[in-house]
Amino acid sequence: MSASAKTLLLHPVLGSNPIGLQILGICSALAVTVNMNVALVMCVALTTVTAFSNLFVSLIRNIIPNNVRIIIQMTIIASLVIVVDQILRAFLPEISKQLSVFVGLIITNCIVMGRAEAFAMSNPPLASLLDGIGNGLGYSLVLLLVGTIRELFGSGTWFGLPVLPLADDGGFYVPNGLLLLPPSAFFIIGCLIWLLRSVKADQQEHSEFVIAPHSQATSHTH
């Protein structure tokens, strides 16, 4: 794998994480991370859609008319999402029901549209495909981390398999109900962003201005 292909795939995982740095795609991260099975399927779905939408947009980037380009990107993304939804309903009906509207909402996920517009419109197909996969991987990392924390401490299981014995079943662990509610994902993502920016100081946003100390209105003799 060439150095640039590796960069395209791995840079969005930690160096430019779509959720961690670009702060995109948060909504689905809140809703589908209650358990790992659902989160994993969502990750695969989003990575597939982002990768292929990047590829297809990139393939026709030179002939897309400028004034309808957003709509054309939308059409491509929407078609991909519909097909992914249909595939899930055919082969994973239980999980598809739990994901309900969130698969359809991939269309509105900023990551997909963002990469199509920011990268695929001005880069060759293979690079775009890799960039799509890379961003999908970055998104997946965050989702799986949040999902692990929420499922482990919210239900005592991981991928449905019992890890912490629940007090109700005679064990010691009393599950934290807050982690089963969406706001908990918000807090966890916030902490992850904090952690990421502590480790990678270059991702910290610096204030564009610093407030000066109070000054008295004086006549300018000093």
């Binding site: 002939i63 008319p65 400028n66 491509i76 078609s79």
Partner: protein
């Protein structure tokens, strides 16, 4: 570059091309996957019927085997008798409700459950043990607050005691009306009676909770008066004269 890409000819050509290709892509996928999806829907329905009988396996093979032990019978709701010349697939409710000859339009006083139309044929499921009727599953539906609740109810062989209930489809408010899915609440239904000694539908949802021992009541849902009322009404309808009332009377006579 921008001259040719923004020309009218190019816009029309690219837009039409993208739409055509996307449409082809989506429709081929849809058609290729349709059979599998229909099969999933069927399995889902079988699972729903089995769930009110207390069989909760998710395994496809087990579901198919268990479902095969049930007898699906088509019932003529008007006469209350078995309609032996109609197959289960012909008794599809949605298809009947579209065919003006196969449903009756309910009058305002009849339409307690808010379903507007009632089909002519319904499919019921009998579980037999040692050649005798053991339990029976009836499909029920009625309007709650935001949506029509679709479910199944299972009765014991006395055709009065509830063996199980489940609403497999609804769009009631999660946490309020959505608590129709609460296992503990559904468990309250088991063992309750529908009809009282005067053969009237006495089953109801009690606001504020059931006090003491009540053979005909379960708790109403907290914060969900209209959904609770809807559930009570749909039970009244489907066990009344416009629902399965005639059929259950007929069944009592022949067993």
């Amino acid at each position: 570059m921008s001259n040719t890409t923004d020309s009218l000819r190019n816009i029309v050509f690219v837009t039409a091309g993208v739409c055509l290709l996307c449409a082809l892509f989506v429709s081929s996928a849809s058609i290729a996957l349709r059979d599998k999806q229909i099969e999933n829907a069927k399995l889902e329905q079988q699972r729903n019927v089995l769930s009110v009988l207390g069989i909760t396996s998710k395994n496809a093979q087990t579901v198919r085997e268990q479902f095969a032990t049930l007898y699906a019978q088509v019932v003529d709701l008007q006469t209350g008798e078995y309609a032996n010349n109609i197959t289960a697939s012909e008794a599809n409710v949605k298809a009947q409700l579209r065919n003006s000859e196969q449903f009756i339009q309910l009058t305002h006083t009849q339409d307690i459950a808010g379903i507007k139309k009632r089909e002519q044929y319904a499919t019921v499921y009998l579980l037999r043990k040692d050649g005798e009727l053991h339990k029976i599953v009836l499909p029920i539906r009625g309007y709650g607050l935001w949506s029509t609740l679709y479910g199944y109810i299972a009765l014991e062989k006395d055709l009065n005691t509830i063996a199980g209930v489940s609403f497999y489809q609804h769009a009631e408010t999660p946490g309020l009306g959505g608590e129709v899915d609460n296992q503990k609440w559904k468990q309250q239904w088991v063992g309750k009676h529908i009809y009282n000694k005067q053969e009237q539908v006495a089953f109801r949802l009690v606001k504020g909770g059931v006090i003491g021992v009540d053979a005909y009541g379960v708790d109403a849902l907290s914060g969900a008066s209209l959904t609770s009322r809807g559930v009570e009404s749909l039970i009244q309808f489907w066990f009344g004269n416009d629902g399965f009332g005639p059929f259950l009377q007929h069944l009592k006579q022949i067993s």
